[in-house]
Every structure is written in structure tokens, then in C-alpha cells.
Symmetry: none
Subunit: 146 residues, 2 copies
DNA sequence: CACAAAGTGGGGAAAAGTGGGGAGAGTGAG
DNA sequence: CTCACTCTCCCCACTTTTCCCCACTTTGTG
């Protein structure tokens, strides 16, 4: 389970340290890919495995081909150096708008990486908004397929 | 597992370097052929073997005959030079519209090679489209044979 | 306060990618 | 048959990127 928010720096080589608390839960086979709202997402192997049912072959339908290309094309296996850092590719940094600092956030089953601006927007929700959003989600759960 | 997108140049001899990460997963017997949407596809031996289910015989439907001819007729075994490059034949380059640069994309079980324009079109999906496609595929999986 | 663990920064060797020369086989024209 | 030409490999040289290693700073803990 990944919890908490960490502010780490990204150096000129694109390296960013993954918090030790997270790292010790990430075996090899961990994958980083693009996520919704312009963040990057880190999938532990057991989470990523669910995405892998998607395979290409001569009989794969067009929609699945498209999705597979986007998903896997944007992903990379995480490789930690001796200091516990991973390298964000130029493409990933550009997608997430990350330059000097990154916010690394544990979101239960996976980890997200945000730029300053993006994470600020998430965090600036007032208690009232928070309550409203919580209610919305509760509502949808009661009546799915809306 | 093949992941990530790489932009490599294709020289005047039609040579293109396969990313080292991919190359080390490609034993001899790897095959390159034409793929859907105008890309080229690189099949590791075990993936290619699955395509061999497609055979010609007196009862093969016309569509399958056509597909088989295209796939196998266009295929070639990959041969790497000392620098880790393969040569794309003039025919393959023309089919894929590849001139100066090529995008080499890992798509889980196989590798695709795209021209600038083609790959840009795949990647330019908005987050909303991405979500929609993801939902469609999930839907189809839940209720196969539609 | 001292020690250990975590995070940050940079130099340099090694690996990956790029471009081109040239030998040898195959092809076609004179 | 010979010559010129093309195409395919194989080899070498250069540039760029990656990654491995070391050192320092900061944070946390007993």
C-alpha cells in the first residue's frame, strides 16, 4: 500500500529518487507509464500484469490495436540505480511537464508523479469541495452505468 | 515484454538500429513483416509461431488466403549487423512510408516500426479518447463474440 | 549530539546509435 | 566474354547517451 506525498528534485539527467518507503515495495518488473490528467503512473508488477492480457496478433481488432500501442508505447520498465533513482525519459518529462521538481504520491495500489502546478491543483481543494466530491463518488457507486 | 517508444534514424542504405533493450530479447528466428495501419511488425520466434496457424488449403476462405499471402510474402527473417541494425528492404520502406526517421515501438508481445506521420496519429489521442477506447475494449472483453 | 539512512549532484567509462568506405556477388548491356 | 553497375555485407570511425561510481548534504532516529 502506497501512502503519502513527497517532494523530490529532478536533476538535469532526468533522474528522480523514489521514496525509500515506496521503493522497498517495488520488485523488479515495475513499470512506469503515462496516466490521466497529465501525471505519470508507476505500476507494481501485480498491477501491471492486469494490463498484459492485451496482445497483438493478426486477428486483434482495430480498437485493441490502438489501445495496446498507446499503453505499451508510453510505458517503460523502472530501473533503479544504486541510489534508488529512476530516469524519466525526455518524453515522459515533457508529457508530465516536469522540470526541476516532482511530487511523488502514493495512491493506494500505485504511485503517481506530478509536476508542481498539477499537484497544487489537486491539493487546493477546500473541505467543502472534498465533501462534495466524496458524495458524488458515493452516489455513482450506488447507481453504476450512468 | 517490449515497452517504450524510440525515435531512430534510417540511413540511405535503409538500415535502422533496433533499441538494445529490444534486441537482447530477440533470438535468431525473429521475423519482420507488414502490419496493420501501414506499420511494420517484428515478431519474436514464439509469436511468429502462433501466426503459422494461418495455412493455405483447399478449404481456406478467400479472406484468409489473401491475409496469408500478404503476411508471409512480405516477411523476412531479421539479420542484425555488428551495430545491431537491420536492413529494411525497399519494399518494406515504401509500404511503411519510411524515409529518414522511424519510430520503433514496443507493444507488449511484438515490436512495430512506424513513420513520423503514422505514429503521430496514434499518439495524438486526447485523454478522453484514451478513456473511451479503454472502456470499449473492457466492454468487448466482458462480452466477447459481438 | 552522534550515527545511520535518505536524497542530491556530477565525472567519467562504457554502451548505444549514426554515417560512410570498400570488397565481393550478382545482373544486365554491349 | 567483359565491363560497368548495383546491391549486400562487413568493417571502421565518430558522436551521443546511458549508467556506474563516488562524494557531499540533508533528514531522521536513538
Amino acid at each position: 500500500m502506497f501512502l503519502g506525498t513527497y517532494r523530490h528534485s529532478v536533476d538535469t539527467k532526468g533522474r528522480v529518487a523514489i521514496p525509500a518507503r515506496f521503493r522497498e515495495q517495488l520488485p523488479s518488473g515495475t513499470v512506469i507509464s503515462k496516466g490521466a490528467e497529465g501525471c505519470l503512473q508507476v505500476y507494481p508488477p501485480q498491477e501491471w500484469a492486469q494490463e498484459q492480457g492485451l496482445r497483438l496478433g493478426s486477428t486483434t481488432p482495430a480498437e485493441e490495436r490502438r489501445l495496446a500501442r498507446m499503453m505499451f508505447g508510453a510505458a517503460r520498465e523502472c530501473e533503479f540505480d544504486a541510489q534508488g533513482r529512476i530516469v524519466l525519459s525526455a518524453d515522459q518529462r515533457q508529457y508530465a511537464g516536469i522540470t526541476g521538481v516532482a511530487w511523488i504520491v502514493g495512491v493506494n495500489n500505485l504511485i503517481e508523479i506530478w509536476n508542481d502546478e498539477g499537484w497544487r491543483r489537486i491539493g487546493e481543494a477546500t473541505p467543502e469541495e472534498y465533501t462534495r466530491i466524496q458524495d458524488q463518488v458515493a452516489e455513482r457507486r450506488r447507481a453504476p452505468r450512468t
